[in-house]
Subunit: 502 residues, 2 copies
């Protein structure tokens, strides 16, 4: 017979799954907005999404939720997974209760305003238009850190939204271990002849690129019975359950790399979502661990695997079938070197694996200071341009290719950027663990077999959901907490092979 705790747990499950139904419904509406929505449908779509969000929020912050969770927190006859679900839901609930609805409303309004200002500012290529609305968002974010609470640095409270347990202290240590090494490598590369990769900018027709993208996704085990790919302006991954995962990509006919690595990147995100436990639908253990771990799952496929020589030894002949003329004089090694060219640049999303971290560092430093209050939004262009010159040696010509390039701040997403770098470091550390665990992994990749990599991720990363936080999971599967060493070794060895410096 079912115990009273099990009855109560069932009520909790039903309640939270209904909230998930509403949230996922809203995600379907957003997916449709980015892929198929006719232009004039935008206004009504906005209000439909807003209504669903409010409903989900109301249901989540209702007395019923509080009652269920308070009651279940006192029960000790639940399984360890059930207990963990309750703990995590309770954490979410308490955090949510810390933000009064008047504050949430104010925040939504400020973000809405700042997003529109950012769009105008980009159009006019003038940060001044964005300055004041952005400062309002920053002030609200500062207030949020006080409402949420923190131990040592206010910015910790914001980073926690994306990666629970992440701190300024930890991130500073990581960057200070990482950045000097990357600077050394970058300087060495400057001393040797640069790689030529113009062949990536020929004409690659849309339909063949699309077909190749499907091949790529199949090769990395994306399940098309539990997901699909469509076209959107900015690639993204979303899901409406672990059995319905939607990827999008974009195709630039004069830039082969644009689709290819964003496709593998989103595919990696998609594999993670498809691997989350379906039976935990709507509950914390059915949700991804953190944005950092999510990013590690995209980066390991995009970079560690998708930019490796072994991977392309198998894929390149296939690619040549689609584009025989464009690639007829290119060898696999030429291709491998070309797709790994390292060069300082202005735009984060177009950066190579190495210089990418400088882009992230710059944003991280600026955000920290904005939240500390040591700088304000009107200082951003100056600080931004100084840091780009210092770290990457590039001169920022205008705001559009400088501090107006990313949407994140206009959305109020402060504390997000670091997870991009941290995700890459997790990826390198996991990739190292996989290679130690499976010494023939590169040999297998060369013959087009990535099953053992997929199996490793499928049994070590995907099934845990939010059971562990990022670093606990990392320690469990790699034997040590996150450190910069594995990424440094990985990128150093790759650059050395490619650039042939001493």
């Amino acid at each position: 017979m079912k115990s009273s705790s099990q009855y109560l747990y069932d009520s909790y499950k039903k309640h939270f799954q209904e909230i998930a139904d509403i949230k996922y419904a809203s995600a379907v509406l957003q997916w449709d907005q980015e892929t198929y929505l006719p232009q004039k449908g935008n206004d009504t779509r906005g209000r439909q999404i807003a209504t669903l969000s409010e409903l989900a929020h109301e249901k989540f912050t209702s007395e019923q939720t509080g009652h269920l969770l308070n009651e279940l927190m006192m029960r000790d006859d639940l399984s360890s997974k059930q207990k963990r679900n309750i703990e995590l839901s309770f954490e979410d609930y308490k955090k949510n209760k810390k933000l009064p609805s008047a504050f949430v409303r104010k925040s939504t309004e400020a973000i809405n305003k700042s997003f529109h200002a950012w769009v105008s500012a980009r159009k006019e290529n003038n940060f001044k238009i964005f300055e004041q609305p952005l400062q309002e968002v920053i002030d609200i974010k500062k207030e949020e850190t006080e409402l949420l609470g923190y131990v040592s640095h206010p910015y910790d409270a914001l980073m926690n939204e994306y990666d629970k347990g992440l701190t300024v202290k930890f991130t500073d240590v990581l960057f200070s271990a990482l950045i000097p090494h990357l600077t050394v490598i970058l300087n060495r590369i400057k001393e040797v002849p640069q790689i030529e990769n113009d062949f990536l900018s020929q004409f690659f027709d849309k339909n063949s690129q699309w077909d190749f993208s499907i091949d790529l996704l199949k090769s990395i085990h994306f399940d098309f019975e539990a997901g699909r790919q469509d076209i959107s302006e900015h690639p993204f991954t979303t899901n409406f359950s672990s059995r319905d995962v939607r990827l999008t990509t974009r195709i630039d006919e004069y830039d082969f790399g644009n689709m290819t690595w964003s496709c593998i990147h989103e595919g990696g995100h998609g594999l993670y979502e498809q691997g989350l436990p379906y039976e935990e639908y709507g509950l914390p253990l059915g949700e991804y661990c953190s944005l950092s771990i999510h990013e590690s799952q995209s980066r390991i496929w995009e970079n560690c695997i998708g930019r490796s020589l072994a991977f392309w030894e198998h894929q390149f002949p296939n690619l040549k079938k689609y584009f025989p003329n464009q690639l007829k004089n290119i060898s696999t090694v030429d291709f491998y070197r070309g797709i790994n060219k390292v060069t300082p640049s202005l735009i984060r999303t177009e950066a190579d694996e190495l210089t990418y971290h400088f882009h992230v560092l710059i944003r991280y430093e600026i955000e920290k200071q904005l939240i500390e209050g040591t700088i304000n939004s009107n200082d951003i262009p100056f600080v931004w341009n100084e840091l780009y010159l210092k770290h990457l040696g590039v001169k920022v010509p205008d705001d559009k290719s400088g501090c107006l390039q990313d949407v994140h701040w206009s959305h109020g997403s402060f504390g997000y950027f670091a997870t991009y770098s941290i995700g890459s470091l997790y990826a390198a550390q996991m990739w190292n663990a996989i290679q130690n665990n499976q010494p023939d992994v590169l040999e297998q990749l060369k013959i087009g077999n990535s099953s053992s990599i997929f199996s490793w991720l499928k049994s070590n990363i995907y099934p845990w959901g939010r059971f562990y936080n990022s670093n606990e999971l990392c320690k469990k599967v790699t034997g040590e907490v996150l450190n910069a060493e594995h990424f440094i070794n990985y990128i150093n060895s790759k650059c050395k092979t490619i650039y042939k410096y001493k």
Copy 2:
């Protein structure tokens, strides 16, 4: 300054628009289910749709709704449109309250069971499997007629769900005016040589058919900035506001007619949805009048216009550009005759404009008797086959091509079929009014111009929403209530021209 009634009306509007947001969100999820959903996503999608339906229902039947409507029904300082919205919402609310939630649950369960039984029965080509589950649905429908109430015939209560004010008495009069004339025409056709239209069954490739379908929709003024077309197994039209209308079509490469007239048909539905007043979003005046009027809007474009010689005098040369080989020996008149071939057949959805009404009559007669209780579900196959022999002279070989062909009964949609015929009669009556009003309409069609037809519909039919019921609207725009005469004249004159009988 706003009056208290206006404040109250604003609350009503906000409340009903939120309910609409949820319903339309559910419609997006259903549209996605029919067009893009990956196979394994089906289960979760089912529960997401169910949760949204329950939420919308809860909100609609809440005390808040009752309070707002009761209060507003007593106000006399509202505009006539506002009053009409309140009256109609109140009607809906009261009707909804007549069905206790236990009854709704029982009904949903029975329909779910009968739908699955229908699928199995079709697969096994055996009505027996469907018989008992269907009888349960029929019994529930009988109960529903008592709960909803009716004046003279219980079946009236069910027809009212689809077309307010429609009665058995009125429908019987229509059919008895219509059917004898159609039988006479059918007999005349039997006496003259049959038309040859095999050319429609050649190979017509998918992509060209798709491109032609877009041409067709543009030619009838479908606004692609406020809607789109996609592929699904069964063509349908849905909308998420009047500025986001989704059509679907299917393409059979060996049956040119399959896509063409279903595309124009759905396009006609879509034009109506796009023409409904956007400012009445979520309120009765923003909703379609009735299923009969909806059907009139699809049929007028599909048949009166889309199967006219004038229309194809312009479109046929365009079509020939897509399929020069298939159509090289076919003249516009051959084509016109071919697409209007009249011949008794087994399947409703494949029937021509004339014999279509016999298919509807047969279902109408059977439903009426089932609801009266003069026959039961186990009588259906016999009665069905008898009626097909009597009216169309065709022998039904098995249940699949007989009484198992339509999904409607398995969905509990009793009272629906008549609206198909009635919609065609409304279409013919409106078409007659348009021709009287615009004597050069056919001349305009010949040069590809259907703007004046579109304008007439856009000013006479679309903007009214549910302000009038079907027959009130008909009288207002054609000067008389619905009668069979216009359709009889229309089809008689067409068949005479095509078959050249005396």
